[in-house]
């Protein structure tokens, strides 16, 4: 049977992708950002996921103002890295696990979560940057080491889904994966955040104390984290900090009790606080 072995939380700052693509990760500005992923790259190489279920948001790339699905599940065979206005990232095409994706779609829809199904979708830095930080540089001509099922969450137009809704959806995704007959090691990534505001006069807001409490809650008290209001995210973590609801999908897909095997926090990467956590289900 398929099983969920671990969850990964991490930021998906576009400048992190640019730093990797232009080979400047050892510069003093970037070194402390990437140091925190050294363990993670070794860890994920050892753990060899077959599939990563990757929760992220599109940044007005695949979805224009014409169509704003709250939850969109990528069921395509492959997903091309998108040109976001400065050329597509030089990373491999992302390959999906179509059968597992459609199994999850059917299972969670019958579980009363009304997903949008995407049979064609480009993916932006929200998805490719977490892949890059976890798997390291992979040449465009090569392949990512695993298949990916993207779940795209609207966090651009207010309101995003509530933290609790995300947490409950994570639980439904877990039930779906647990009932899939193929023997697969599945990891769930929740991406975005941590505190950051990209817009207007309050841009640059960072709330490290809040972020660190959120990381604690990811490990020890996800139910409390699932109750954080949208207003608290907006006020305390910046208008774009609300992306952190996506970490709750990941956390919902894990056991109630988990082992925290790694944590990393650094300010800044561009405008953003970089947060990263690895949580394993207890075997």
């Amino acid at each position: 049977m398929a099983r969920v072995s671990a969850g990964v939380g991490c930021s998906h700052v576009p400048a992190i992708g640019v730093a990797m693509d232009t080979g400047i990760t050892d510069q003093p500005y970037w070194e402390p950002v990437f140091d925190g992923f050294k363990f993670s790259r070794k860890w994920i190489k050892d753990k060899k996921p077959d599939v990563v279920f990757l929760v992220y948001n599109d940044h007005c790339t695949a979805f224009s103002a014409e169509c704003i699905p709250t939850f969109a599940l990528g069921c395509a065979a492959e997903f091309q890295p998108a040109d976001e206005g400065w050329g597509a990232r030089p990373v491999p095409v992302v390959k999906g696990h179509q059968k597992l994706a459609s199994h999850i779609a059917q299972s969670v829809i019958l579980d009363e979560f009304d997903l949008t199904i995407m049979n064609a979708m480009e993916v932006d830095h929200g998805l490719t940057v977490p892949m890059s930080v976890m798997f390291g540089e992979v040449d465009k001509q090569d392949e990512w080491p695993c298949l990916v099922i993207p779940l795209c969450v609207n966090v651009v137009q207010y309101p995003p889904p509530t933290g609790n809704r995300c947490y409950q959806l994570g639980k439904a995704i877990r039930r779906a994966i647990d009932s899939y007959p193929e023997d697969l090691n599945v990891m769930v990534f929740g991406t975005g955040g941590m505190s950051h505001q990209l817009q207007s006069e309050r841009a640059g807001l960072i709330n490290s104390q809040w972020d660190k409490q959120f990381l604690d809650m990811m490990t020890n008290d996800p139910v409390a984290a699932s109750r954080i209001s949208h207003l608290e995210y907006l006020r305390e973590t910046g208008s774009e900090g609300i992306e952190m609801v996506m970490w709750l999908v990941m956390r919902g897909a894990l056991d109630a009790e988990v082992n925290e095997v790694h944590r990393h926090y650094h300010v800044p990467a561009s405008n953003t606080a970089v947060g990263h956590i690895i949580l394993e289900n207890k075997v």
């Binding site: 576009p14 400048a15 940044h59 007005c60 790339t61 224009s64 103002a65 014409e66 998108a82 040109d83 976001e84 206005g85 400065w86 651009v156 137009q157 207010y158 309101p159 505190s195 505001q197 990209l198 817009q199 207007s200 006069e201 309050r202 841009a203 640059g204 807001l205 960072i206 709330n207 490290s208 104390q209 809040w210 949208h230 207003l231 907006l234 006020r235 305390e236 208008s239 774009e240 300010v267 800044p268 561009s270 405008n271 606080a273």
Partner: protein, 129 residues
């Protein structure tokens, strides 16, 4: 709908009202994601702008690259950042422009740990300044 988030200073929460107002502006901005559209815009900015039924105010804010004005007129940062990318402006430099500081000052603020939350939660805290 009540808007409990309207008392956050220096922030435009992109809700349905802003989305409605900014629809054509945002569609213009996202079009610049595509290389052939960037070329058309470069060749003849005015006629490219005319393809999108924006308000005159919105068009002027585009011409002026009035980054905060674009947000006030219904633009969303992920869309307006495409216009910035078209100009070759990075996200961090765009943020600096919106806060009215130089790129060096802004970068230094981020290196010092960012804009602190203390004093930046409520509009009333900014009015006292």
């Amino acid at each position: 709908m009540s808007k409990d988030y309207e008392d956050i200073p220096g922030t435009y929460v992109f809700d349905a009202d802003r989305s409605r107002e900014g629809y054509h502006l945002n569609m213009f901005c996202i079009s610049l994601r595509i290389e052939k559209n960037r070329k058309k815009m470069k060749d003849d900015p005015e006629s490219y702008l005319d393809k999108y039924p924006m308000s005159e105010q919105q068009k002027q804010a585009v011409r002026d690259r009035d980054w905060n004005g674009l947000l006030a007129l219904g633009g969303n940062i992920y869309y307006t950042s495409k216009l910035a990318a078209y100009d070759g402006i990075t996200f961090q430099d765009l943020a600096a422009k919106m806060t009215g500081t130089s790129r060096e000052e802004y970068r230094d603020m981020m290196l010092r740990g960012g804009r602190p939350i203390e004093g930046n939660r409520f509009k009333s805290e900014w009015e006292k300044k």
